[in-house]
Amino acid sequence: MKDVTELYRDETFLSEIINAIPSCIFVTDNEHNILLINKACAELINMRPGECFDRKSYEIFDSQMCDKETGACQMSIGQGIINSGQTILNVDDKKIPIEYESRPLKNFEGKIVGCVVHFIDITKRMHEEKILLRQKEELLQKNEEYIRHLQNEILELSTPVIEIWEGIIALPLVGTLDSYRARSATTRLLESIEQTKSSFVIIDITGVPTVDADVAKHILLTVYAVRLLGAEAIISGLSPNIAMTIAQLNLNLEGVEVCGRMADALSSAIKKIQSRKEYLKSINFFTE
């Protein structure tokens, strides 16, 4: 049997240990009266441990955790379950985010006689998490911008529109055409025609080994669009494969000029431009 002084020494030693723990601990009985509270916990709410004893936990802790009816303490006392989570502790005007865990306190008979609540101040952690999240978002955004930039670059590289003569622009297509690329090529072509006011467009598909039905239709659609704008399209460099595809699809190439080589297309266009100029001169359209 230990004598009383020894027990007393043990108790002070124990409370020293509890007070030395940096996280917050308090113990209540079934009526929410504080039986034990450590230094860190009392300091967090600007009190001394001595002031807290025998007061109700919901009076000194302004937090959802200690709510009389629905708080974690009440759940532990009433139902004997372990509760954990995050909530806000209001101290004066400050809102301190905390992470808590409350456990029921049982006596030697297994009856619940109170609860132990342990919680830590996570202000710093929340702040760091927020910074990390922001950095992650920034990084993602930067990456996304970079990828978009690269995509645009590739798209522009894949559909170059060149002005090769006064009033003649060329669209040399190289590689496999998909419908997305074909559409972007059409868009850029129409925009270039509007800008340069060219009257002839040479669509060169020497570098395209094969097309599918959709793309073949799209090329013809491009020719039609160019015509609506008032310019004329010449297709050059049709490969035998593509010619077969177009024939098999029964596509109407009527009224579309097709040349074997790009050079032929260019000379044909230049000839037409010159004859137009001569015609305009002959009817004295612009008297200079």
């Binding site: 925009e191 509007e194 669009a225 609506l228 704008l229 008032g230 305009l280 359209f285």
Partner: protein, 124 residues
């Protein structure tokens, strides 16, 4: 208020059409154009559609009908002033024009009209 306007230019008639043209206005336009073609020696009609932001099937149908009439009367209809976005809508809605030529500007329109007349002379 009229939603169209005529500007005679030699044997060519320039017609400006606004976007909000209505049914009865189209009939008025048709009547006036046919009157001008038959009374004067008009070889070409140039429709200026640069003031139109969207060509819907309604307007396209009327333009097609008008063009057929003009063609029967022996003149060539030409549309000028289509912009790239308008053309994309036309393609997306699968709207087609028959019997009509297209040009950038009046110069192009004159070329188209005279080519047409040359061909006709050849056939004659």
């Amino acid at each position: 208020m009229k939603n169209f306007a005529f500007i005679p230019f030699g044997n060519i008639l320039l017609v400006r059409i606004d976007e909000e043209i209505e049914d009865h206005q189209v009939h008025l336009l048709e009547a006036e154009i046919t009157k001008v073609i038959t009374s004067k020696k008009i070889k070409g009609i140039v429709f200026n559609l640069s003031g139109v932001e969207v060509i819907d099937s309604f307007l396209a149908k009327h333009i097609n009908k008008l063009s057929s009439t003009i063609k029967i009367l022996g003149a060539q209809p030409v549309i000028v002033g289509l912009s790239a976005p308008v053309i994309f809508t036309l393609i997306d809605f699968d709207i087609h024009f028959k019997d009509i030529q297209f040009a950038f500007d009046i110069e192009g329109a004159i070329l188209k009209i005279s080519n047409f007349n040359n061909k006709r002379e050849l056939i004659d």
